[in-house]
Structure formats: structure tokens, C-alpha cells
Amino acid sequence: MEILASTVAAAVRSGTPLLYATLGEIITERSGVMNLGLEGLMLIGAITGFVGAYMFQNPFIALALALLVGAVLSSLHAFVVITLRANQVVSGLALTMLGTGVSGLVGRRYIGEVAVRFKEIKIPFLSDLPFLGKCVFSHDLLVYLSMALTVAIYVFLFKTKAGMALRAVGEEPSAADSRGINVFAVRYLATIIGGAITSVGGAYLSLAYTSMWIENMSAGRGWIAIALVIFSAWGPFKGMIGSYLFGGVMAVQLRLQAGGKVTVSSNLLMMLPYVITLVTMVLFSLSRKFRKGLGAPAALGTAYSREEKT
């Protein structure tokens, strides 16, 4: 029972960066823009957060910096893809390369250093509950924030007019345009805010999950998040479940690597999250095969222009 509780707790912690990235990308993709630069954004968020914590000794300032830098980088992608209407896949890849490179460059001098972090918060009564206490109520601020964000995004997307405008832009931008919605502004905001949220997910890695910087520390989480967005049918709550499930896979993999009953090569174990992502994608596609469509926003990936027929 103890092991189960601590595994669930680890799954939540491990899934939180995935959750942030998934939530951010859900917002962006719901507006019709594909941002494949999540891996780069997470790394940039991680290094910015770490440097901020190191220099200012304050995790909140670090967080704010990570948000800012994530927003700035995403606006580059937004400009290229929305205003210049360039290829969204290639632009996302460029963002990933840029993010990976800049974080590697800046992070060089911080390898091996430690900085302040977000510590676990003890809630007076709830933290001491037998099972749930450990799993759900003994996490740090950023974990709770991500949970709150999930609810907030759900409410925003499905219960507000602004959310409906966002979804309209992602499904049929010309219809939204004719209703007076500024498609470009909505897409810009969605991309920038989505990217900033993803960046927070990266900052979580260096500010709470660990309190250091390791090169390429996101280890493909950005890409897994893109798959998660599909699995969650672009809905925040399913995204949360998916994130924690995958977080669980990564947590179990770490435990197996640390030793114990199972002695499999550590390298083979490290394949696990990626193989499971792929297998899940296959199973998911197989089950959807007989139902029409995946639930993707209809205008996802296509640029919008008033003059042209595209």
C-alpha cells in the first residue's frame, strides 16, 4: 500500500510537466495552430527557471521569467506561422532546435549547480490522510497550479464565449472571421499563451521535480505531449489523465532502473516511455478507425488568409 501510494505520488509529479505542455498545446491547437516546438520550449523554460532561481534566489521570479521567455519564443513561431503563413511543421522544428541550442549554450555554466526550488506544501488536515494524503495532497505549488489550470482551461474552452471563439477559429476560421472574431489575434494569443504554459512545464523540471539543470533534461516529454494532445481529444481533463498515466510509466521506469526485483538493462528500460507512447497511439488509432475522425480541430495546421482560398 505504501509502495502504491508513493508510486501514484511519483506519477503525479512526473506527469506534471507533461500536463503543462499538453494543456498549453491544447490551447494552441484548438485555435488551429500546430506548435511542434514544445521540446524546445520546455528546455528553455527549464534553463530560464533555473537561472532565475540561481540568480534571484526566488522561485517565483524564476517562474515569471520562464513564462516570459516562453511567451517570447512562441511569438516568433506565431509570427512566422500566422502572419507569414509559413509551414507550421518546419517552424515548430526550428523552434525546437533553437530552444535546445540556446538552453544548451546558456546551461553550460550551470551544470552541477543547485538552486532554490518549490517545496512540498503540507496542507493541515489533508496531507495526513492515509492514502490520498501522500498521493494527492503532499505536492508542491506547481502541481496544484497545474490541476487548477486544467479546470480553468476546461471552463474557459467550454463555458465561456471567448473559449467558443477560440474553438470556432480552430474549426472554421472563415466563419469566425465573418462573425467579427479577429482570427489572427485569437491565434496569436493562443500560441503565445500555450507556449508560455509549456515553458512553465519545463521550469517545473528544474525548479521542483529536481533542483538542477541537466542538458536535454526534458528527454522527449515535449514530443510525448503532442501525442497526449491527440489522445485527450483536445480536452483538458482527458489530457490530465493521460499525463498522469504517462508520468506513471516514467516513474515506474525509474524505479525499475534503480534496481530491485527486475534486472533489465537500464538502456532498454529507458526506451519504455517512447515505446508505450507509440503503442498507445496505435491502439488509439485502431479504436478510432471505425469512428469518423479524431476530434481534431478542423482547421488545424492550415494558415488563414482572407484573400486566398486556402
Partner: protein
């Protein structure tokens, strides 16, 4: 008089060539700014530029190194130009490269024995390597063709799997017992080594690659299949109405791309490293994406661009040595090049033109 922005119906060749050149120039300037911030000395930045542009291209210094790096970039980018033309995004070239290297290693160390005739051994190993890459590409290919699975994520996941698989082998069962515990395999037998061209310091892989350039050119521009691929990329609905079998073509194109990436991996093993080792690829599979895009998917342009990027990688290594700059600079440069390319690509399609009020 006021300015009007007009979209051009046809973008002239001058502009189309100017775009990638301008993109690279601007990117280099931006990198110069990064260097300046990092190095804090303007003369150091000038030294950096000088090193980057002279070392990789002078025969006494890095020229052959540039050619050596050009070969894998050329091969992979050629393969990518085929799939990208179909708007199928094979981001898994790095993993296919790894599988090609892996199978070639298996062939050289565990399948052939030492006394096989090199004229048989080398081609056999190259074929196995290509097959390895093609098979690895077949997984996402079939998944995309028949399940409409997102090939970007699938190929990326397989990249990570391939990377860890190779690590498993070189740290584990294939580790060289005489290798002082380094993550390397045993050295391949001399009969499997790709020979150098005449007295020059570059292996025959270059010749193989150049032959493949012609093959790909003919395939894409002079066959019906190449035309079908282009239609599928430009307008899949029209392609379906025309009766073109999209699924088979996706699988075929992906397989070709995978085979070329695997071949590149094989050539790296047989021509350069002669053993499988950790980190044998500085991200060729990813850099090749930029090469292919910068070359606008044209095979002849790919030759030129892969040569230049080979020079860039060699120049980057020099900067690492001379100025102690980190390898991430090259990643940053690549990202910037791609962004500037995308920006200019679009801008080149418009012109500003003044009209009377």
C-alpha cells in the same frame, strides 16, 4: 502614391535562389551577435568568422573533413526530399541512420567472417544497412498509411528507441572486450572497410552518394512515380480522384527515405568509424532536414547545400577547438537558419509596388 503589397503569380528564379542564400547570410550575422555576447570581443568574432569560412574549404586543412561530413547529409537529405515532396514528415532519419549503422555493425562483426572478399563484403553490408533503415522507416510508414497515425510523433519516438537500443548494444552485448570499458564495439575487419578514393583522404561513399543524386533526380523528375508523389503532396484529393494509390506511395516513399538514411549510417560505419560507438552522429538526421528544406527539395541543390553544411559542421568543430565555443552553437545556428528561411520564403512571394492615389 501609396504602397500596395501584391502577391506574385510566379516567383522568378532569381528570387527563389536569393531566398536560401539570404537566409543563411542573415542567420550567420545573427549568430555573430550571439558570439559577440558570448566572447565579448569583436576581433574574436572576426576570428571566428574567418576560421569558419576558411578552414573547412582549404585542401590542406578541413576540406576532406567537409566532404566526409557532406556524404551522410547528402544521402539523408535526398531521401527526405522524396518524402517531404509528399508532405509526409519523416523526422525519424536519425533513428533510421542508427538502425543502418546497427545492422551494418552486426553484419561486419557477427555475420561475415574475416576472410570474405571485400568486393562482396562491402556491398553486402551497405545493403543490409539500407535495409535496416528502410525497415525502421516501414513502421511509421505503415502506421501512417493504414491508420493515419501522426508520423511526426511516431518517427520521433522511434528515434529515441533507436538511440537507446544502440546504447544498450554498445554498453552491453557488443562492447569490445579489449576496449578498456569504453562504449564501443570491436573494430571491423579490414575487409569491410570502404576504401579511399585514389590518394585522397575521402572514401568511396562520396561516389556512391553522387550516383544516388542522379538516381533520385531521375526518379522524382523523370518518372511517372515522381510525378504522382508531387501530386499527392500538392493536392491529395486530386490524387485520389486521379486514381493514385496514396497508401502504397506513402509506404514506398518512406521506405526509400529510410533506406537512404540507413545507407548513410552504413557508410559512416564502413568509411569513417569502422566500429559502432556512442555519439557517432552529431545529429545528421536532423541537420539533413534543414539541408533538404534549404535546397527546396531539389536534388542538385541538395548537393550544394549539403557541401556547405558539411563545411558548417567542420567550421563549428574548429570554433569549438580554437575559441572553446560549445557545440550547441551549431544547433542555434540551424534553428535560426530555418526561421530566416521560412520568413524569407514567404516575403519573396510578394512585392511592394506604388500606385497613384
Amino acid at each position: 502614391m501609396k504602397p500596395r503589397v501584391e502577391k506574385l503569380a510566379y516567383v522568378p528564379l532569381r528570387r527563389r535562389i536569393a531566398v536560401p542564400i539570404l537566409a543563411v547570410v542573415i542567420a550567420l550575422l545573427i549568430m555573430g551577435m550571439f558570439l559577440w555576447i558570448n566572447l565579448k570581443s569583436f576581433s574574436d568574432v572576426l576570428t571566428a568568422y574567418k576560421e569558419m569560412f576558411t578552414w573547412p574549404f582549404s585542401p590542406q586543412m578541413g576540406f576532406f573533413d567537409t566532404l566526409a561530413k557532406m556524404v551522410p547529409l547528402l544521402l539523408i537529405a535526398l531521401g527526405l526530399s522524396v518524402v517531404f515532396r509528399m508532405r509526409v514528415w519523416n523526422i525519424g532519419a536519425e533513428g533510421q541512420l542508427y538502425l543502418g549503422a546497427m545492422l551494418t555493425t552486426w553484419g561486419a562483426l557477427y555475420w561475415l567472417n574475416d576472410s570474405v572478399n571485400p568486393w562482396l563484403a562491402v556491398p553486402a553490408l551497405l545493403i543490409i544497412g539500407s535495409a535496416g533503415g528502410a525497415l525502421w522507416a516501414l513502421i511509421p510508414a505503415l502506421l501512417k498509411a493504414y491508420l493515419n497515425l501522426n508520423e511526426i510523433v511516431a518517427t520521433l519516438m522511434l528515434n529515441y528507441v533507436a538511440y537507446h537500443w544502440v546504447n544498450y548494444l554498445i554498453y552491453g552485448p557488443w562492447r569490445d572486450p579489449k576496449g578498456y570499458n569504453f562504449p564501443v564495439t570491436a573494430l571491423f575487419p579490414k575487409t569491410t572497410w570502404l576504401p579511399k578514393i585514389g590518394g585522397l583522404d575521402i572514401h568511396y561513399g562520396l561516389v556512391i552518394a553522387l550516383v544516388i543524386v542522379v538516381v533520385i533526380y531521375l526518379l522524382c523528375y523523370r518518372t511517372r512515380w515522381g510525378f504522382q508523389v508531387k501530386i499527392i503532396g500538392d493536392n491529395p484529393t486530386a490524387a485520389e480522384y486521379a486514381g493514385i494509390d496514396i497508401r502504397t506511395n506513402i509506404v514506398l516513399a518512406f521506405a526509400i527515405s529510410g533506406a537512404l538514411s540507413g545507407l548513410a549510417g552504413s557508410i559512416q560505419m564502413l568509411g569513417i568509424q569502422h566500429r559502432l560507438l556512442h555519439g557517432f552522429s552529431p545529429g545528421y538526421g536532423y541537420t539533413a532536414i534543414i539541408v533538404a528544406w534549404l535546397a527546396r527539395l531539389n536534388p542538385w541543390a541538395v548537393v550544394l547545400v549539403s557541401f556547405l553544411f558539411g563545411g558548417l559542421l567542420v567550421g563549428g568543430e574548429q570554433l569549438q577547438i580554437v575559441l572553446r565555443l560549445p557545440v550547441s552553437m551549431i544547433y542555434i545556428l540551424q534553428g535560426i537558419v530555418l526561421f530566416t528561411l521560412l520568413a524569407f520564403e514567404t516575403v519573396a512571394r510578394y512585392r511592394i509596388h506604388f500606385v497613384k492615389d
